[in-house]
Symmetry: C2
Subunit: 85 residues, 2 copies
C-alpha cells in the first residue's frame, strides 16, 4: 500500500526564531499590524509504501527521530494517509 | 478576537526540489528504502487579531499572495482557527 505522510517540524517555543521575527517585521512594514507573532517551520511531504498505516506511521516516527527533526530544538508532528494513486 | 493561522507553502509539482531529493537520498542511506519521494515546504504559524474568522482568513490570503508564497514556483494553503488564549 502507498501512503502520503505530512511531517511538520517547528522550533520549540523556548527557541529563538529569527526567521519568524523577520516575517513579522516584513508583514508589519506591509501594513499587517494585526500579526503579533510568526514561527517558521518545515513541512516535509513523503511518499512511502508499507504493509498498513500503523506500520507506515511507525517508520515515519523513526525517520523523524533519526533525520527529519532535531529534537533538541524542534518539535515534530505528522499524519499519514493512504495515497489516492 | 485572536486567531492562529497555519500557512503551508510547497514547491509546485513541476518545480524541481533539490532539498527533497537530498532528504530521499539521506533516508535511503539510513535504510528507509520504502520512501519514493519527498518534497520540502514551509510551515508558517501566525498569531493575529481580527474582527472575525472570515476577516482573518481574507487578511492571511493577502499575506500569502504578497509575501509568504511565491506563486510562480510555490503553492500555498492555510487554515485559521480561533486561538485558545
Amino acid at each position: 500500500m502507498n501512503f502520503l505522510a505530512h511531517v511538520f517540524v517547528t522550533p520549540k517555543p523556548a527557541i529563538l526564531d529569527p526567521q519568524g521575527k523577520a516575517v513579522v517585521n516584513s508583514l508589519h512594514s506591509l501594513g499587517y499590524d494585526e500579526v503579533t507573532d510568526a514561527r517558521l517551520g518545515k513541512l516535509i511531504e513523503l511518499k512511502l509504501s508499507g504493509a498498513d498505516r500503523e506500520a507506515a506511521r511507525a517508520r515515519v516516527e523513526e525517520m523523524c527521530k533519526r533525520l527529519l527533526a532535531n529534537e533538541i530544538i524542534e518539535d515534530y508532528r505528522f499524519d499519514v494517509e493512504e495515497a489516492r494513486s
